[in-house]
């Protein structure tokens, strides 16, 4: 039963939404829209399950090995504080203060660290182990050079070359990837819809 019911629900909900994709009918549409809203609600609940897991994970680690308890405490306090600011005091401006002066700088600077990581990844990726790496190295350097705001000065053909690279080989490459991914997505979804796979049914 604990396997049968979830599988049945998955198939019924899935086929209903799929029908909604292809057929326009008031009943199918309205139930389909409700199902999609339900997914949104479930995702919100899942987020709270995730937050509980995050708290539990760090509480457990604190009690288990006491290592890094300070950091973990900071995490838990920040989480709790933001939640309280957002849920208990929604109109107080506390959340926007936290967003503006803590969350935004942290997030944008974490994103800025990508610059370091891209360079250290380039250190590995630019190594000419084989022909593939050579092609990648040349393409990325050319595209990067042509991206500079004064690339026109270096050579008027450089932006044209970049445009051609992006227009033809890169478009072909991304299109091929998208097509392949679509094929994979379709068969994987069919596996779930036809219950060949049911990773959600835990024993």
């Amino acid at each position: 039963m604990r396997r049968f019911l979830p599988i049945a629900v998955a198939i019924i909900c899935g086929l209903w939404v799929l029908a909604d994709f292809f057929v326009s009918h008031p009943l199918i549409d309205s139930v389909g829209a409700k199902l999609l809203e339900g997914v949104m609600i479930l995702a919100a609940f899942a987020l709270f399950a995730g937050i509980l897991n995050l708290l539990g994970f760090h509480a457990r680690r604190i009690s288990k090995d006491q290592k890094d308890w300070g950091y973990r405490l900071v995490l838990m306090v920040a989480l709790g504080g933001t939640l309280i600011a957002g849920i208990v005091l929604p109109g107080s401006g506390a959340l926007s203060w936290i967003f503006g002066y803590m969350y935004y700088p942290l997030q944008s600077t974490m994103a800025a660290l990508l610059a370091f990581f891209v360079v250290s990844a380039a250190y590995r990726a630019f190594r000419l182990r084989n022909g593939e790496a050579l092609i990648m190295l040349i393409t990325s350097l050319v595209v990067l050079l042509a991206q500079l705001p004064f690339s026109n000065r270096i050579s008027p053909y450089l932006p044209l070359l970049r445009k051609w690279i992006l227009d033809v080989p890169v478009t072909a490459g991304t299109r091929g990837i998208i097509l392949g991914t679509a094929l994979g997505t379709i068969t994987t979804s069919l596996r779930i819809l036809l219950a060949v796979d049911h990773p959600y049914a835990q024993d």
Partner: protein
């Protein structure tokens, strides 16, 4: 190897006394079968289990059977020590005192005090039958199972499985009869089990028990495990019995080839990147005189220059704070330009955080030019949820998607900038600032394809390559990567420069990447040469 029958300690070959408990080992020599690993009495020539010939250590002679003495009830003691609690001991003592028997421990040289204590119970002769298995008594209550399974002496003698089950007659010469105690099955197996390095692992290792294996001749013949082997077996047992090896604090030995860049090199690289980033703060835009705007930027600048005063432009700030660093400067430049041309701007976002970022940009604008006012010249509509469906709703009626504005919460009709707007078709231009290709695709498919309004996309450099096809097909009038676009736009639109001086940093970054490519390949080539 000699297994002490009392405490199961495994002593090295040739030991006379047990290392652990000090008891004499003279009469207890066990031999490991080279073929099946079973433990045999020293007098055995053939293995009791698989009948392989038991080889002797060099210089060793088979011990004549006559010299053999049956072991002194060893397993009982072992079991007692291991299993029974203090209560049993107390009970045993009480029993001993009841029977009034004297300890006979004097007859047993090498006994430990604890054994002596237990002695009386073992030695209490009550009847013939009891004399056969006297030691059982004290345990009756505790271990009924083992008593039930106890073998009679005769069975014990006959059974090859029972260690020390030699002929009964050979036993009573030097030791008292009471010691000819028939060990029960568990006890009999104890020494072997103790010597078995795999003891306790039955449930971990799903091998069939060795007993069921047919005889397999072995190449490796040795009389008994050496001390080293013994030590290794012990170590193995230790390791294997642990719940899971290396559970805590296991250190990963990193494969050297996998990394390539040690921490110090990493740090140097990062500092160089940082230096490239702060460079324009010192050079202050030396390279900006070389900047030459490209066609896409010029197209947008021309479009905006040609807009009549009072034209309506829709701007959608579809980016998250993560990419605000790249898109903000371009957004600022474009909005400055539009404000200078006194174009009316209607601002929305399809990402929840986007409208807040837009608000910050417009705050800067109103600080710079105070006569550019909210409601009159620009309006923030707010966040539009629903992705595709949300964008589709814009096509039909703007008022359906946004009933009130974001800042003043007033109906759109009350604000002069939005009062004349019914649908998307009333806009002259649409400018989308986005950090992901999917959003731009949605705009193109749901809005541009339906309404044919001139459409511009200002995106991060990361997603620009993916959107080039839309520019080629003419659906995007201009597609501008924001990082270099901001620099070029400030020059082309001659708006107040704030990102122009960053061109130095971009040049430095490119040079850095070039150097990285050279260095990594130089090192790689050198290592390759050394390797070959």
């Amino acid at each position: 190897m000699i297994v002490c029958p009392a405490c199961s300690h495994r002593n090295p070959e040739g030991a006379k006394l047990c290392e652990a408990c000090g008891r004499s080992l003279a009469n207890f020599v066990y031999r490991v079968c080279p073929s099946c690993g079973a433990l045999n009495s020293a007098q055995h020539v053939f293995c009791h289990r698989c009948f392989a010939e038991l080889a002797l250590a060099e210089g060793e002679e088979p011990i004549p059977e006559s010299t053999f003495v049956r072991p002194y009830t060893p397993p009982i003691v072992t079991l007692e020590e291991e299993v029974t609690t203090q209560a049993v001991h107390r009970e045993a003592k009480a029993q001993a005192s009841e029977t009034g028997a004297r300890p006979t421990s004097e007859a047993l040289p090498g006994q430990t005090p604890s054994e002596a204590e237990l002695g009386p119970r073992a030695a209490a002769p009550i009847s013939e039958e009891q004399a056969v298995a006297p030691s059982m008594e004290g345990e009756m209550g505790e271990m009924p199972a083992s008593t039930e399974e106890a073998l009679s002496p005769l069975e014990a003698a006959e059974s090859p499985e029972v260690l020390g089950g030699g002929p009964v007659g050979a036993a009573g010469v030097e030791t008292p009869a009471v010691q000819v105690a028939p060990p029960d099955e568990t006890q009999a197996l104890t020494p072997e089990a103790a010597a078995n390095p795999l003891e306790g692992l039955d449930d971990l290792l799903p091998f069939e028990p060795a007993v069921t294996l047919p005889h397999r001749p072995s190449q490796h013949v040795s009389a008994a495990p050496s001390t080293t082997e013994d030590y290794e077996a012990e170590l193995f047992q230790q390791v294997a019995v642990e719940r899971a090896p290396l559970q805590e604090g296991a250190q990963v030995v990193l494969p050297r080839t996998a990394q390539g860049l040690p921490q110090i090199g990493r740090t140097i690289l990062y500092i160089l990147v940082l230096l490239a980033g702060v460079l324009p703060l010192f050079t202050w835009g030396q390279m900006s005189s070389f900047v030459q705007p490209r066609e896409s930027v010029l197209a947008l600048v021309r479009t905006i220059e040609e807009l009549p005063s009072g034209a309506e432009v829709l701007l959608s700030f579809d980016y998250s704070p993560t990419y605000a660093g790249e898109l903000d400067p371009l957004a600022l430049a474009v909005v400055r330009h539009l404000a200078r041309r006194s174009v009316r701007m209607v601002v929305m976002s399809t990402k929840p955080e986007g409208i807040g970022l837009a608000e910050a940009i417009y705050r800067t604008i109103t600080e710079e030019s105070p006569d550019y006012r909210y409601g009159e010249h620009y309006v923030l509509l707010g966040y539009l949820p629903g992705q595709e469906a949300g964008l589709r709703s814009l096509n039909t009626a703007l008022g359906d998607a946004f009933k009130i504005d974001y800042l003043q919460k007033r109906p759109l009709g009350e604000l002069s900038a939005t009062s004349g707007l019914a649908t998307l078709k009333d806009f002259d231009q649409i400018i989308v600032l986005s950090d992901d290709s999917l959003t731009v695709q949605r705009w193109v498919e749901q809005v541009q394809a339906q309404s044919d309004i001139p459409f511009h996309a200002l995106v991060t450099s990361a997603v620009e390559p993916l959107l080039v096809p839309y520019q080629r097909s003419g659906q995007l009038l201009s597609l501008i990567p924001a990082a270099s676009g901001a620099v070029e736009y400030e020059l082309a639109g001659s708006v107040k420069p704030s990102a122009l001086f960053r061109s130095d940093a971009y040049a430095a970054f490119f040079v850095l990447l070039l150097v990285v490519a050279l260095v990594t390949n130089a090192l790689y080539a050198r290592r390759g040469k050394r390797g070959s």
